[in-house]
C-alpha cells in the first residue's frame, strides 16, 4: 500500500471501531510516513527504530484523542515531534553527563599546539608588574605547570575565578608586549 492511496482518516476511523486489519495497515503506513522524517533528524538506523517504537506506542495510547473530523497527519506529526524532542533531550543530557571537562584532560596533552613566542622567563619582568594575585596565578600555571584546578586549590579560589584572573592577566600582557 503506497502513501498516495492510503486514506489515514478512514483507516483510523475503522481502527477506533476495533478493526484490527485497518489498525495494522494504519500503523504500517504511519511507519512509512514517519521514517524519512526521523531519519533526517537522527544519525543511526537503530535510533530511528527505537524512537519509532516509542512513537507507535504513543499513538496507541493517544488514539482516543483523534477523531476523523480532522486530518490525521498533523495529529501524528505532533506526537512524533513530541517523542523526538523527548528522545533528543535525554540523549544530549546523557552525553553532557558523561562529558569530561577540559581541565581534567589538559595534563595529557603532549605539547602546546601553538608555537610559544615568549617563554615565562623572558616575560617574567612584565609578569612581576601585574597585580600580585594575577602574577601568582600565571607563575603557578606557566612556570610550575599547574592546571587551573590545582592553582585554584592552592590559592583557595574558585576554578572559574582563576580562569578569569588568568584571562585578564593575558590581556594586560598582550597589550604590553604588542607595544614592545
Amino acid at each position: 500500500m503506497s502513501d498516495q492511496i492510503v486514506d489515514f482518516e478512514v483507516l483510523m476511523q475503522q481502527a477506533l471501531q476495533g478493526d484490527q486489519r485497518a489498525y495494522t495497515d494504519l500503523l504500517q503506513a504511519t511507519v512509512r510516513l514517519l521514517r524519512p522524517y526521523l531519519a533526517k533528524r537522527l544519525s543511526f538506523t537503530a535510533e530511528t527504530d527505537d524512537l519509532m517504537q516509542e512513537i507507535l506506542i504513543s499513538i496507541h495510547k493517544a488514539r482516543h484523542t483523534y477523531n476523523s473530523a480532522r486530518p490525521y497527519k498533523p495529529w501524528v506529526y505532533a506526537i512524533a515531534r513530541f517523542r523526538l524532542q523527548d528522545y533528543l533531550r535525554v540523549h544530549y543530557a546523557d552525553r553532557l553527563h558523561h562529558a569530561l571537562a577540559l581541565s581534567e584532560v589538559e595534563n595529557y596533552f603532549p605539547q602546546d599546539v601553538t608555537p610559544v613566542v615568549f617563554s615565562y622567563e623572558s616575560i617574567s619582568g612584565e609578569i612581576a608588574k601585574l597585580p600580585p594575585k594575577q602574577a601568582a596565578i600565571l607563575k603557578m600555571m606557566h612556570h610550575e605547570g599547574a592546571t587551573a584546578k590545582e592553582t585554584a586549590q592552592k590559592i583557595g579560589m574558585q576554578v572559574s575565578a582563576v580562569k578569569v584572573a588568568a584571562h585578564r592577566a593575558y590581556k594586560i600582557l598582550r597589550a604590553k608586549l604588542e607595544r614592545i
Binding site: 481502527a15 477506533l16 471501531q17 476495533g18 478493526d19 484490527q20 489498525y23 495494522t24 500503523l27 504500517q28 511507519v31 527504530d49 519509532m52 517504537q53 507507535l56 506506542i57 504513543s58 496507541h60 495510547k61 493517544a62 488514539r63 482516543h64 484523542t65 483523534y66 477523531n67 480532522r70 486530518p71 498533523p74 495529529w75 506529526y77 505532533a78 506526537i79 515531534r81 513530541f82
Partner: protein, 211 residues
Amino acid sequence: MRKLEQLLITLSRDAAIANPAPHPYILSMKWIVTAAIYLAVTLLVFRWRPDLMQKLQDPWFVAEIAALAVIFIATSLSAALLSFPDLHQMRRLALAPALLLALFLPLVFFSWSAANPLAILSTHTYECTLCLALIALLPATWIFFEMRKNASTHSRWAGAMAVLSALSIGALWLRLHEVNDSIGHVIEWHYLPMIGFGIVGAWLGKILLKW
C-alpha cells in the same frame, strides 16, 4: 526491524474499540459550568460582599469581573485544547489567553488610575493569596485529573493554563467576597501571585501530564 514488526502485531491485537475523548468545547464547557456552580456555592457558604450591589454600579469593577470571567473561559478552553496532542488543530484559540491577559493589564492600570484615594483599604495581606490558592485547589485538581485522560504534548503550557483557569475562579471569588476597594492590594495580593502560581502550574504540568 523484527522488534518493530512484533510491536505492530502486538498493538494491532490490542485494537479494541476506543472511546473517543470529548471535543475540547464540550470538555471546557463541562469545566466552566462546574466551576460556575462551585463559585456560586462557595459564595453562598462564605457570603458575598455586603456592598456588592453598590459595587456593580462601578464600571471599572464590572469590567474587572467581566475580564476575569472571560479569562476564566479562555484559559479553560485553552487547557482543554492543550490536552490534545495536536491542540485539536486550533492553535490560535489555544493561545488566545495570552492576548486576553495582555488586555487585562491595561484594564488593571486604568482601574488603578481611577481608584478612589479614600477607598477602604484592606487589612489583609497574604491571607488573600492563601484564600485564592485554597479556592482554586479543587478546580485545579479536577482539571488536571481530566487532562490526564488525554495526551498533552505541551504539558508545561497545559499545566499553566489549568492553574490559571482555576485561579481565575479564586480571583473572582475574592473580588465578590472581600470588602476591598484598594486596587493596589488587589494587584499585589491577588493578581501578582497568580503569575507565580502560573509558573508552579507549568512545573506541575510537566510532572502530572506526563504520558
